[in-house]
Every structure is written in structure tokens, then in C-alpha cells.
């Protein structure tokens, strides 16, 4: 039995769903960010798996390069998001997602 493309795609889908659940239900804003990182990682697994298993004449590595760009974007996003959280904590003294609802009320 070999690890096929389908098994990698299933793993990616499962990780994405766990990340989605966490991002929608968790209370702490930092954990919500981590869940989003997990979802990005699931997408990266798919890209690298498609790069390995897709049929092409040349041995190009475009999928891996896509993943690299994705990781760079994720790093930039994490830095800005943590900065926003710290600024928000300074203004509101909370990191609870349920208490940040000024626009709703």
C-alpha cells in the first residue's frame, strides 16, 4: 500500500476542518490566529502533494514555490495580527473574542 495523492488531500481537508472549527469557536484571539495558520498549512500540504503527484513532462517545482510564497504571506499576516492584538489589548484590556463586539451593539 502506497501513500497516494488522495491520502494527502484527505489529510489536508481534515486539518483545514479542524482549523476552521477552532477559528469559529475559540475564545482567545491568539488561538484563533493559530487556527488560521493551521488552515494555511493544510493548503500548503495540498500544493506540495499536487506538485509531487501531478503529471507533467518537465520536473518543475511550481507547487513548492507557491508554498514558499504562501509561508511568507502567512508570516507577514501573523506579525501584523499579533501587533493588532497587542494594540487592541492596550485599548480594551481584553483578548477575548466575545468581548470585542463594539460594532455589533
Amino acid at each position: 500500500m502506497e501513500a497516494s495523492l488522495t491520502s494527502y488531500l484527505a489529510l489536508g481537508a481534515f486539518l483545514f476542518c479542524i482549523g476552521l472549527y477552532g477559528a469559529l469557536t475559540k475564545k482567545n484571539a491568539v488561538i484563533v490566529l493559530l487556527c488560521i495558520e493551521l488552515m494555511l498549512n493544510a493548503a500548503n500540504i495540498n500544493l506540495v502533494a499536487f506538485n509531487k503527484f501531478s503529471v507533467s513532462v518537465t520536473q518543475d517545482l511550481t507547487g513548492q514555490i507557491f508554498s514558499l510564497f504562501n509561508i511568507a504571506i502567512a508570516a507577514a499576516e501573523a506579525a501584523v495580527a499579533v501587533a493588532i492584538l497587542i494594540a487592541l489589548y492596550r485599548a480594551r484590556a481584553t483578548s477575548n473574542m466575545y468581548e470585542i463586539n463594539e460594532l455589533k451593539d
Binding site: 500500500m1 502506497e2 501513500a3 491520502s7 488531500l9 484527505a10 489529510l11 481537508a13 481534515f14 486539518l15 476542518c17 479542524i18 476552521l20 472549527y21 477552532g22 469559529l24 475564545k27 482567545n28 484571539a29 491568539v30 488561538i31 490566529l33 493559530l34 487556527c35 495558520e37 498549512n41 500548503n44 506540495v48 506538485n51 509531487k52 503527484f53 501531478s54 503529471v55 507533467s56 520536473q59 517545482l61 513548492q64 514555490i65 508554498s67 514558499l68 509561508i71 511568507a72 504571506i73 502567512a74 508570516a75 507577514a76 499576516e77 501573523a78 506579525a79 501584523v80 499579533v82 501587533a83 492584538l85 497587542i86 494594540a87 489589548y89 492596550r90 484590556a93 477575548n96 466575545y98
Partner: protein, 168 residues
């Protein structure tokens, strides 16, 4: 009979899923970050299995190193309630979200199973993937690369300005 590659894949994906599930179910915030680091490192192992050695090292450096530490810093800088207690206000919300997410997972799995994708396991052992990635980035994808560097600079400056204490 299971091949060695499949056993390694099985163990690594089990570790990845275990880390993610622990992240969902643990109570303390720092423990959640540690569980997710396990997930990230196992994903690096999966990249090695997929012949993406450079990406595996980048994954360990950026995710297991930088982003986990950044998140721990974020936790330390903000006060949080010690236990992530269940929200008493909306008890049905978690259940409803779980149902929706499981349904979404089912749809994705159905799509994956019903699509026939012509696959061919490519052999990257003949070529130096790190060298090939470098050649491709600096020849074929120069403009996206430069845009990424611009984006990182903007993100760096933006993060500093956002987190800076405002002058009263």
C-alpha cells in the same frame, strides 16, 4: 503489505492530526501552542516525504520557530483567563459549528473521492530540488519574489507602528 513510506506517512499524519486535536481540546493557552508546534513539525516530516526538503526546513524555521514563539509572545503580552472555559452564553453554538464543519468535511471528501485525478509519482531524487527552487525563483518568479520582499517590509513597518505605544 504496507510499504515503509506508507508507514512513515501514517505515523506523521497521525502526529499531525493528534497535535491539531490536542490544540482544540486542551484548556491552557500555552499548551495549545505547544500542541500545534507538534503539528507543524510533523508537517515538515510530510514535506520531506514529498521530496520537498527546502520547504521542510523553511517549515521548521518559520512555523515551529518563528510563528509559535510570536504567538507565545502574544499570549504573554496580553492577559488571558487561565482556563479556556466553555462559553455559557451560547452552548448550542459549538455544536452547530461542529455539525457545519463535519458537513463541509464530508462534501470535500466526497469531491476528492469522486474525482479521478491522473497521478504519476514523480522522482525528484535525480535533481537538486533546493538548487532548482533557487533557479525558478530568481529566473521565472522574480517579480512575485520582489513583491514578497516589499510586502514583508510593509508588514514589518506596519507591525512596529501598530504595536508602538501612542504618545499622549
Amino acid at each position: 503489505m504496507w510499504s515503509a513510506g506508507f508507514i512513515v506517512f501514517f505515523v506523521l499524519s497521525l502526529l499531525t492530526i493528534a497535535g491539531a486535536l490536542f490544540m482544540i481540546s486542551l484548556n491552557r493557552v500555552v499548551h495549545m501552542v505547544l500542541a500545534l508546534s507538534l503539528s507543524f513539525i510533523s508537517i515538515a516530516g510530510l514535506y520531506i516525504l514529498l521530496d520537498a526538503e527546502f520547504l521542510a526546513f523553511v517549515q521548521v524555521l518559520i512555523y515551529a520557530g518563528a510563528i509559535s514563539i510570536l504567538m507565545i509572545f502574544g499570549i504573554m503580552m496580553t492577559k488571558h483567563s487561565e482556563e479556556e472555559t466553555e462559553e455559557p452564553k451560547k452552548p448550542w453554538q459549538n455544536v452547530l459549528t461542529a455539525v457545519g464543519v463535519i458537513g463541509f468535511f464530508g462534501i470535500i471528501m466526497y469531491a476528492i473521492q469522486s474525482t479521478t485525478i491522473v497521478t504519476e509519482k514523480k522522482d525528484f531524487t535525480q535533481i537538486d530540488t533546493v538548487k532548482e527552487i533557487g533557479m525558478a525563483i530568481f529566473q521565472k518568479h522574480v517579480i512575485p519574489f520582489e513583491l514578497i520582499s516589499l510586502l514583508l517590509t510593509v508588514a514589518l513597518i506596519g507591525a512596529i507602528i501598530l504595536a508602538k505605544r501612542e504618545e499622549e
